[in-house]
Symmetry: C2
Subunit: 419 residues, 2 copies
């Protein structure tokens, strides 16, 4: 007699439900559509389940590209320093061609967030920059929703050990899966129906904000007095989005935010981070910055300050905002109390702002969506897009209209009843 292991069974069942949600809620795969998956090697079991559900949903071909943290480390340990500005442009361009031909995009996140923390920061930064430049055309197709896309997470040993330090690895992995399943809203009887309800709520909030067309948001709380001007023709988004190929997809699982485009020249005041920012393996804590004319003119952090400074100096747009997002303090991820060190989760634990690139999706069509036209209306442009948390149970958010009127949006971290 074989006694089934309850933990393994729970993970088996959960990953199967997550896989189905990724395919049916996340991508909403169309019959005959190709699917491109990227994943850490440790996510093979989840990828196989996603692949099965994708084919069942009508996918014509599922192509998965695995990333291996060990291979990345082998480069830093063995490669010549003069080779670190190289990126696989030919591959990124191939993916972009796949999107142009209509392939859906599914990214599985879960690699070790601290992988490169011990490596030469100059080499890390050069390799990362080269990869960003190479990936830009493909990323632009994704952020502009040329096709349906989705990101979900897989619990890997390295990530789990970081989230649950000191906990034996298999238990940490099991706990991280639990946290992923719960945050991803797949534990109910019918996850597809649950996501429909959740999407409705997010759409209602985005619709309200789009109707009000605020000129700016004001954030107030301990260490924070920040006015974020919104771009001309900004659009609020949240939950599912219709991609340009007509497919309604949920780009992030989980997601708890409604978000839009700040005006890159109209951010004023100061703000303090409310959660640590995990950037390429370094925790940057207690960030305090001051904005003038949309630009960060002063920045400090109690930990990781040199990494923060390096990030801010990436390019012209890296000291300006590309996104502002509202998340209630009562969000399930916030209530879990976990620091995932992974943006897909941490950004859904609190209201946040992002340095760098704006989403053209969060702008109206008026005036067109060329880089120049978007910049003229205030949308920022940069190689980076880094979210950091400024929300908490002590934060108020107020909408400011063009005439100077104010509308309370959040108080003590929660949506006011009217919204």
């Amino acid at each position: 007699m074989v006694i089934p292991c309850p933990v393994e069974n729970k993970i088996e069942a959960g990953t199967d439900r997550l896989a189905e949600a990724a395919v049916r809620v996340g991508l909403n795969v169309r019959h005959g559509q190709q699917v491109i998956i990227t994943a850490p090697l440790e996510a093979v079991p989840l990828v196989r389940k996603i692949t099965k559900h994708a084919y069942k949903a009508g996918a014509s071909l599922v192509t998965t590209f695995y990333a291996d943290d060990e291979a990345t480390l082998a480069r830093f340990s063995n490669a010549a320093e003069d080779t670190f500005d190289t990126a696989a442009t030919w591959f990124a361009d191939g993916m972009a061609a796949g999107f142009r031909e209509g392939a859906a995009r599914l990214a599985i996140t879960g690699g070790n967030p601290a992988l490169l923390s011990g490596q030469n920061p100059d080499l890390v930064s050069r390799a990362s920059r080269a990869a960003s430049v190479a990936n830009r055309p493909a990323l632009e197709l994704i952020t502009s929703f040329a096709v349906n896309w989705n990101i979900v997470a897989a619990a890997t040993p390295a990530w789990a050990s970081l989230v649950f330090p000191g906990v034996p690895e298999p238990i940490a992995v099991s706990r991280l899966w639990d946290a992923i399943f719960s945050a991803s809203r797949i534990n109910g009887e019918d996850p597809v129906a649950d996501w429909a309800v959740h999407n409705d709520q997010l759409h209602r909030r985005a619709d309200y904000l789009n109707k009000r067309r605020f000129a700016a948001l004001h954030f107030a709380g301990p260490g924070t007095d920040l006015t974020v001007g919104l771009a001309e023709g900004h659009l609020w988004a949240g939950g599912s989005s219709k991609a340009k190929n007509g497919i309604l997809c949920n780009p992030n699982i989980p997601t708890e935010e409604v978000f839009t485009t700040p005006h890159r020249l109209q951010v004023e005041g100061y703000v303090r981070s409310t959660k640590p920012l995990s950037y390429q393996g370094t925790l940057i804590e207690d960030i305090e910055v001051r904005f003038a004319d949309g630009r960060i003119v002063e920045a400090h952090s109690t930990k990781g300050e040199s990494v923060l400074m390096r990030v801010l100096d990436t390019d012209e747009g890296s000291r300006r905002l590309g996104e502002v997002a509202l998340v209630p303090h009562s969000s399930p991820i916030s209530q879990s109390g976990l620091l995932f060190q992974n943006t897909l989760f941490d950004e859904n634990a609190a209201s946040h702002i992002a340095l760098g690139q704006a989403y053209s999706e969060c702008m109206t069509e008026e005036g067109g969506k060329t880089t120049e036209a978007l910049a003229a209306r205030g949308a920022n442009s940069s190689l980076i897009h880094i979210d950091w948390m400024i929300g908490s149970g002590e934060i108020s958010v107020t909408g400011l209209d063009a005439a100077g009127g104010t509308v309370p949006l959040m108080r003590a971290g929660e949506w006011v009843t009217a919204v």
Copy 2:
């Protein structure tokens, strides 16, 4: 005290030597060159060793694409039948762009040769054809040696179980690794030096044959009386080759053959296979075919005949020859007595012919290398290239010159002393 496991240590050490040989003998990676690897998922440990050696040798970036047999099967079990003509053209084109930008190419073979043997042959054939069409531009860059490339093998459980049926899996895998190490000539004190000696011998034979410029080869033995005309301006090759980027590489590890281009219109007589042909999981045994004017006009086999017929009907060129190769019966792979069901090994166990596509590398530059110019000189063109064994200890090979003179090349399966 921990007692190291001798089998694991042996595989560790062997795969490290194989990895170094693949990088230094196979690819001969140049400083600053990118490397593109394809591999079965089960080959992760070998890939990691190759990646390390590639970076040590100066590679700027190693990008690995893993194939997962389970994902392939998931398609056949779940996808709609109307989607099987789809291929990842965007990805194949991306790889081709990588080669054009100078990336080296390393393929690790070792997936389950019988993977698709239980699947609907019509779907297998449609998927395979679509993939062949998509891969053609990339493959053409490889077969024409635009860049340095190499194929090596990794022992995987599914493959090992097929080569050693009835043997417990871990023992079968260990035996297959032994067979790979031995065939790949990496067991000596200095594999790089051993490969230099081996390459010299293969080059000497190819040089001799190139000097003689035979018009045809005659194969005689049990069930075989075959005259294979050689293409005008055919070139014999064997062992290392200089790629167009100037790098001397060993495209196959192992390799024991010297080979050239037959004339697609000038093959006459009949021939019997001397070893089973493993094609997409089906063993085709005791093939007997008759050629007239270069074309197979009659074909039989005692096993797998319907698969053989399907292969022959792939396209215009699939009934004509694209390669003829001479391998002595005393080759180490032949002497191992194993049927690997993998062309990289089996084709080096006996003299063989290949149906389908010719190698433009095995043609002189005279008249140019456009498809039309090559065809005019007799080089065949097809979506397929399938090698099958016609050599044994009972086969004689005789060179026929244009004037009708004859020169014995092999007797009883061995090179005659003069060669």
